[in-house]
Structures are given as C-alpha cells and as structure tokens.
C-alpha cells in the first residue's frame, strides 16, 4: 500500500512540472494527441494500457491527372477497401510533391496519404506518406489486377476490418520494419470507425518476395452456425477465395519528411522503367549499323581474296 502511494506521488510530481513546461510552447502533435502529454499518461497508468489510445487514422487517396483506367480502378478498389479513407480530386502533375500535397492533407484533416502518380500512361508510382512529419515512401507498382477481373471470385463486407498478415521477412532490416509499420497503420481500419462493420471476413497478405512487397486480399469462408464460435472442424474446413486487387510494390526511396526531406533509404537494385525501355531500344538500335558494317567487311574480304576465274564462265556465252 505504502509503495503504491509513493509511486503515484512520484508520478504526479514528475507530471506537474512537465505540464508547466509544455504549456507555453506548442507541443508536437502525434497520433495520440500531444506528444508529452502522451508520455505522462503512459507513466501514470503503468499497469493497464493507455485508455485514450484511439486509432484516428485517416487516409487521403488521390491521383495525378493523366492516370489511366487500370490504375484508376485500382485506386477505386483501394478506396472501397479502406473505409477510413477520403478520396480527393486529381491533382496537377506539376508541383505535386512537397507543398501542395501536404497542404491538401492538412486541409482534409488526414494523417496519411496514398498518392497514385501515373507517368507516360505506363508506369504507376505510389507514394505512401504519413503526414505531417512522418516518413514517406515512393513505390513502383507492377502486376496490377483489379477487383473487376472475373477470375477473382470472392466477395466480402464493405468496411469490415481486415486481418493483416505479414511475412517475417519484414523484421530483417530497418527499412522493412518501417514499411511494415506504415502498411499496418494505413491498411488497418480503426477499431471504432463509423463505417467499420463488425465481422472479420477477409485477410490481407503482405509478403516480401524478391525484394518486392506483394499484396493479396482473400475472403475467408468457413462453414459456421454461431458468430462467435467456430464449429468443431471449422479451422480445417476454412477456405480462402481471392477477392481483391493484386499488386506488387517495389520500394524506390524512403524520405524522412512527408513528400520530401532527407533520403533515408534507396533501393540499390531499382532500375527505373525508363531506363529499361531505353536499354531495350539500344539493343535494337545497332541493327542497321551492324548490317552496313557487315556488308563493307564482306566487300573488303572479297577484294582481298579474289576468286580464281571460273572455267565454265564462258560456256553459255554466245
């Protein structure tokens, strides 16, 4: 009893001066409210979890102007998968990074942003950023299959909270850990969100293969009668049906700030699609020159080694 009192007294003593310090200057705003307030709260309730943790994640989803149909459908699919997102109008392609987007996010009162940038009507880049200070990542998106494909036959509740699965590769390096945390926060619907539906009937898969992040979305179908208990053999009879969009993310760079800032990580294996195309063109470019060279070479060779006159050359001459 005595020990407990002492502890709380200490905490209070610590808390009070801190609050005084914090009052004049504007404290840093993070997910849990003001940063130092959060720290004191955590110290106060050491035995139980912080009661005020509320996931107030809001994602702003936008795209650039010249986006093509396939990527637009992908964006719309993601919008339907994330009930905690806000879809906004297209943004101009110039000056998209930096100020404009950050302002937009602030305006809409969102805490993160998914920005789909389509270049040359061929390549899709996805920017994933935590605003206002958070890190941001630029991905190259490939292998896109949208939900409208008839081969993906599953379906699930719109707005139900997904289960997320990450492969353990995400723990292998610092940048993967950061990416995992960002993916978790952006893709997981907040627990008490207005539009969230109660049951869990789909699962997201994020897995790292060949240094790319692969995304899959499956519907869980398990024969059951009651909604909070699985039948006897339920777990064995569970099947997964693929629902949702499929895509593959190739991280290019991680920045310290939102849509800018110091580069924290670069993917050393990344080759931009422009360079790939240039390379392919180069391979084809030399064809004609090579042909001409081969011709001249043949001529030289013929000149240097003349043939002997043919015996039968005059046979058919008149």
């Amino acid at each position: 009893m005595g020990k407990k009192r002492k502890r709380s007294e200490k905490a209070e003593a610590v808390a009070v001066p801190k609050k005084d310090d914090a009052a004049p200057e504007r404290p840093v705003r993070t997910l849990l409210g003001w940063k130092d307030k959060n720290e004191t709260e955590v110290k106060d309730n050491e035995d139980s979890h912080s009661p005020v943790f509320r996931n107030k994640e809001k994602v702003l989803v936008t795209c650039s102007r010249r986006i093509i149909y396939r990527y637009r459908h992908l964006m719309l699919n993601l919008v339907s998968l994330l009930p905690h997102c806000k879809k906004d109008n297209k943004v101009e392609s110039k000056e998209t990074k930096g100020a404009t987007l950050n302002e937009l996010v602030e305006l809409k009162n969102c805490s993160s942003c998914l920005f789909f940038e389509c270049r040359k009507a061929k390549d899709l880049y996805l920017w994933m950023a935590k605003c206002p200070n958070g890190p941001s990542v630029k991905f190259l998106v490939s292998a896109v299959h949208t939900m409208e494909e008839l081969k993906l036959t599953g379906n699930h509740l719109k707005g139900s909270r997904p289960l997320l699965t990450f492969s353990t590769n995400f723990e292998k390096d610092a940048h993967w850990k950061l990416l995992k945390e960002m993916l978790l926060q952006i893709f997981e619907t907040p627990k008490d969100h207005r539009k969230a539906k109660p049951f869990h009937d789909h699962v997201f898969v994020f897995s790292i293969v060949d240094d790319h992040i692969w995304f899959r979305n499956y519907q869980i179908s398990v024969p059951h009668n009651e909604s909070d208990k699985l039948p006897r053999g339920g777990l064995d009879k569970m099947t997964l049906i693929e629902v949702g969009p499929r895509f593959c993310l190739n991280p290019i760079k991680i920045f310290g700030g939102s849509f800018g800032g110091p580069t924290l990580y670069e993917n050393p294996f990344y080759v931009s699609p422009n360079q790939i195309r240039a390379l392919q063109k180069k391979k084809k470019a030399g064809k004609f020159a090579k042909k001409v060279k081969a011709k001249t070479r043949r001529k030289m060779h013929e000149m240097s080694n003349p043939l002997e006159p043919d015996e039968f050359a005059d046979m058919w001459k008149d």
Binding site: T153, N155, L157, D173, V205
Partner: protein
C-alpha cells in the same frame, strides 16, 4: 538481403543520387522489372534514422491486439518469383495460417467474428458483378461438360458401331441356320416319304436351341417393299396411313355434288375397269 553499407551510420543527410551501373542485358523474367546485376554502390541506407522514424510513428507498445489485428507468419522457404503457382501457393498458405491464428485469438476473446448468414449489408463487389462472375463460372462448367459429353458420344458411337456389326453378323448367322434347318427338315420329310401329315406334332421342326418358333416381338408395321422409309415416313400433308385408308373408303369430305359426274379427264378414262376385277371387294374406292 544484405545491402552494401558504404555510407555507414555516421552520415545522416546524404543525398547522393544513385548511379545505375552495369545494367546487365540479362533481364529477369518478371514482368517489367529489371534488377541491377550488382547493387548500386551509392545507395543510401540510413538505418538509425529509419529506426528513429519508426519510433516516431509507431503506436505505443501496449496497444491491444484488437487494434492491430496483424499476424506475422514465417515464410519457410524462398519462393521463386517467376513460378506463379508456387508463389501464389505461398501467399495462400500465409493467409491461411494467419487466419487460423487470428481466429483462435478472437475466439478466446469471445467476440463475434464470423458473419452470420442472414447479415445483409453492402458488399465490396456489387451484386451485378457477382452475377457476371457466376455466369462465367457456369459457362466454364457447361463447356467442360459439353466437351465431356461429346467425347463420350464419340466413344459410344464407336462402340455402338462395333456392337451393331456384331449383331448383324449374328443375325445373318441365325438366318442361315434357320434356313439350313428348314432344308434339313424338308430333306428328312422327303426321306421319310411324307409319312405322318399333320398327325404327329412331335416331329415338328426341331430347332437347335429348342425354342418354339415365335414371331419376333418387335412391332414392325406393315411395310410395303417399295417403301424405303420403313413405314415411318409421313404421307402427304401429314396424314397417317389410317387417314389415307379412310379417305380411300369414304371419300375426302367436302362437296358431294359433282363427285359422280365426269370431267374432261375422266370421260375417256377406263383405267378402273379391268378384266381381272382387281380389288373387287372395295367397290366404293375412288379411282
């Protein structure tokens, strides 16, 4: 996943652009992606700053699992990116394993997590879309079934041809035997000098099988030998044979008035009067 740490942990604000060196012409088979054959030397990897940022953004440690709902699954073996089936299988098993663990946790928490069958709410794909999906699946099934049926029909036809050939042979054989046995019997009778005529029913034709001579049970309609359709063709205007017979007996109905008067063609027509009096039984039959 070892990256060359050229810049080291000490440099924080390094913004060198990476140079793409030695892009090998051997491109990997994956979609539009080419990896550098050796990692670029100047790539930044600032692990400390990354972990710092991670600390900044992450949720507090003691957040309930219910907020996160995330499971980490161990990926057993390296999956080859280009092998589609193996890759998808790996993802599937990861999802399955994750769901199992998650469901166990949820069940132990005692919260409802399975959707009841009567819970109707907006789904992520519209009903019209699901109709299309269903249509496509049914189409596929039907195509497969049709292919199966066609194959079976071909087989059956082949088989039935063989069977038919056999049957024909048998029938021919049977016929031959019957004729043979009749001939034999005749000979026998001849030899025994037509002794018992109608007296003894015991010497009736003795068939080899001991079967009594009986008409084939198959109903074969009375076919005329010139009728190549086997009696099954329908006559003009769809009238059956019955109707035709009745017609020939009772006339065609309709106006009776001028039926018995001669017309231009029938004046000199003496075809009906024949010496032999054919079909004398049916006087009323119109010629």
């Amino acid at each position: 996943m070892e990256l060359p740490m050229v810049n080291g942990d000490t440099m924080k604000d390094d913004e060198t652009e990476y140079l793409s060196e030695e892009i090998s012409p051997s491109e990997s088979g994956s979609d539009e992606d080419v990896k550098l054959s050796e990692p670029s030397k100047k790539a930044v990897n600032n692990r400390d700053a990354l972990l710092d940022k991670l600390g900044d953004i992450s949720w507090p440690e003691n957040v309930e699992w219910r907020h996160k709902l995330s499971i980490d699954i161990d990926q057993e073996q390296e999956v080859d990116v280009n092998d589609d089936l193996a890759r998808e299988l790996a993802f599937y098993t990861q999802a399955l394993e994750g769901t199992r663990q998650a469901f166990e946790k949820l069940q132990s928490m005692g919260l409802p997590f399975l959707r009841p069958s009567d819970y109707y709410a907006e789904m992520v794909k519209a009903d019209s879309h699901m109709e299309k999906v269903k249509g496509r699946l049914l189409d596929e099934k039907r195509k497969m079934e049709e292919a199966e049926e066609r194959r079976k029909a071909r087989e059956a036809k082949r088989l039935s041809k063989e069977i038919q050939a056999q049957k024909m042979k048998e029938r021919a054989k049977q016929k031959k035997e019957d004729i043979e046995s009749v001939k034999k019997w005749r000979k026998q009778r001849q030899q025994s000098g037509f002794a018992d005529n109608g007296n003894d029913a015991g010497k009736v034709l003795d068939f080899e099988d001991g079967k009594v001579f009986e008409r084939s049970k198959k109903k074969r309609p009375g076919v005329s030998p010139g009728d190549r359709s086997g009696g099954k063709a329908k006559q003009a205007f769809g009238k059956g044979k019955k109707q035709m017979k009745r017609d020939s007996k009772f006339g065609f109905g309709g106006k009776k008035g001028l039926k018995k008067q001669n017309t231009a063609d029938t004046t000199n027509d003496f075809g009906g009067f024949s010496k032999k009096g054919a079909d004398a039984g049916n006087k009323k039959r119109k010629r």
